[in-house]
Subunit: 231 residues, 2 copies
Amino acid sequence: MGSDAIVGYGTYLELIQDLTIDKEVVSTGMTQEIDRCRKAIDLAAKGKTVAVISGGDPGIYAMAGLVLELLRTWNPGSGIQNPEVEVIPGISALNACASRLGAPLMHDFASISLSDRLTQWETIEKRLDAAAMADFVVALYNPKSKGRAEQIKRARQIILRYRTPETPVGIVKAAMRDNESVIVTDLEHMLEHDIDMQTTVIIGNSKTLTWNKLMITPRGYEKKRQFRNNE
Amino acid sequence: MGSDAIVGYGTYLELIQDLTIDKEVVSTGMTQEIDRCRKAIDLAAKGKTVAVISGGDPGIYAMAGLVLELLRTWNPGSGIQNPEVEVIPGISALNACASRLGAPLMHDFASISLSDRLTQWETIEKRLDAAAMADFVVALYNPKSKGRAEQIKRARQIILRYRTPETPVGIVKAAMRDNESVIVTDLEHMLEHDIDMQTTVIIGNSKTLTWNKLMITPRGYEKKRQFRNNE
């Protein structure tokens, strides 16, 4: 609201167009993250207050890091001050999708992006294996795109090394947007459902159960109540 | 705002007291989570719209799961309908603390609670080891309390099996509240700082760096830019 300029990916700018009237708006395409942040830094160097907007939480797999990475190596020229940066947290896909699925993140969880555009696939596999082995609930960001269909199949296979086919799986597309869809299924059947770039997948731990089409990962209060009854 | 009754822990109710005027308010102590949810369910069964409030995101280590767990085994009696539940996501400590620290969660991360009140310590150790081994950024919830001081020391030792003493560590207390404090330190020195129940600790991965008293976990764009320059 207090910004002079708003910089973002077109789709996200459309979602907030009521807020950008009378502002300088800089819109770039989806894979042009670096250009976008450079433009924001240039505007800020001219003394403007600039908001770089991001889907979800800018601090989780999003734009906050790139802005800081670019500023770190930025050479502003003499007399120009390094702009101050404030990161404003938001509702990441993790938070939004969990809320739509019930309560899958009541216990320790790991967040893993299946995109190997900037990360080696071997690293991603190692993380999938470690997270499954140590019984983390697993949230999968970027599970699948048009050119990238194998990763989600491979992720499922790795998790099945440690968990039963009946393990609950939540598939949430476009959480909290108009075209939202929420599916609760299991490891055996998850690939029968539509998964795309707008989807986040949450895979339960060994104790996650389903009830009333919701996922619940118990925290362990059941045990506590038993203790109490035994007192 | 549309609720008839608000149920919560006293400290959180105080934070929103402007919103609870003219509402029925049910306040309980910190460890009385089960009583709190039972009261909320009883009120809802009488036809009231009830808001159970939670610090952070109710879906991350918080009240959403317990409400659903209790409803699952609840016997409402004849003629009483199971209340509908909507979980409204929020800013968890993970989101808030990351924003204060810069951008530590730009890559895969694991969230681990060090409280062994409801979880066996062996399970927690296994998760710490797996997360450190697979180079996840690690967020530690409930790192320490008055009666529980050893867990954070042990967690640090486990992570040091895989990471250097120079690995950046963020310690955030009371994020986004009046008494907020933000410290960026490293694995070697982290225990010299004040850590308590209101603190969340974020430990970087092998690539996390510090700049300008901020933590940045690179996503890998640096590599992408090199690719581009080589084209």
